[in-house]
Subunit: 212 residues, 2 copies
């Protein structure tokens, strides 16, 4: 949590005005999201996915899959939620979906990270981004519920393509996968049915265990 | 251009309905954007940036920097433009900003890639994504002009942080960098001035050459 800002060793030109300088220093700092690795393997290469790529993938899924939201959603607002949703992991790290130990401290770690990260921005934008992150975490709007659903659906697709992926984490079964992805059906009956098709067929093929 | 789809070797479950199956196969296929490398070095790690990370970075910049657009813009629409803008590079590859040889064939290669890629989607969504990509390329709206400006500003920030980066490409000078990033000032006087501050100070420090 006490790492220097990336721009500390190489400040942006002094002639920028204060507000824009803070915004651009933040834009540079969040480059770190590209280095936060998730557990999910890519479908297109033999390496794990990072948070920035994952966030982009969700944004595209919002555009393509919004029609399946059970409650009407604003596409632009949902995109803003997914673009911002993992930023705190820059300082808090990724907590894998199947990591119950990490989950216990996740909330406190992420809240401290949010205070530091969003505090770099001008006050109005700190409030804006903190609000988007809180909305996503609390699933307090149709947009947040749909964003959370996509956040659960994307790794299911990657597990399918890997013929296992994080489904092979010790202790994970089809029932555990169903429980961890229940947010999908909460926001979309159609995508919930697709998730069940993927988990069910994955189970039949032995890509996710039936019993622990 | 004739690569099989990623899902060809591992089709999604058959019970998905046709429209959703096509959409999800597209979602899987665009995982490839995470493997398309740009020339720009990351600020946060010693490797080059990929197109998916870059597209995410632009989407966040839209949220933070929209206030500097000289013409009013719709933030959600601008995010959709940047999320989609590099997709054709999945089949056409990245054409670096300073690659004049590649630039000669870029338009034809990218148009063929767009036909194939967007053709995977249901017809209405193929039209939607093709329209977003055409709008971005043609800079035909305030949103597209601002999206293009951010597409030019982000690598300038990465070059600054690398104390050179692609500025050190043979043949590139401060004048070349100014010409290649003129889209920034076309959409935003404030961001255009920031770009000039970055290039000008980069030149004074010897990170970009004054003369070829
Ligand atoms: Ca490009």
């Amino acid at each position: 949590m006490l790492t220097d800002l990336l721009t500390a060793s190489n400040p942006l030109p002094e002639e920028l005005d204060e507000r824009l300088a803070a915004q651009l220093a933040f834009v540079v700092e969040v480059d770190r999201l590209k280095t936060v690795l998730r557990q999910s393997p890519l479908a297109a290469a033999a390496r794990r996915e990072n948070d920035a790529e994952h966030s982009w993938h969700l944004a595209l899924m919002v555009i393509l899959l919004a029609e399946y939201a059970d409650e009407p959603i604003d596409v632009g607002h949902t995109m803003a939620l997914v673009v911002v949703h993992d930023l705190v992991e820059i300082y808090a790290g990724d907590t894998p979906l199947y990591d119950t130990v990490g989950a216990a401290t996740q909330e406190a770690r992420e809240r401290a990270a949010a205070d530091r990260l969003f505090g770099l921005l001008p006050a109005d934008q700190a409030t804006l981004l903190r609000g988007l992150w809180d909305e996503f975490e609390a699933k307090s709007t149709p947009e947040a519920r749909f964003a959370k659903a996509l956040d659960r659906l994307e790794p299911l697709l990657l597990n399918w393509m890997a013929r296992g992926g994080t489904w092979r984490t010790p202790g994970v079964t089809a029932a555990v996968s169903r429980a961890r992805t229940s947010a999908i059906a909460e926001a979309s009956r159609a995508l919930g049915a697709a998730a069940e098709a993927i988990i069910g067929e994955g189970e039949r093929r032995g890509w996710v265990a039936s019993e622990a």
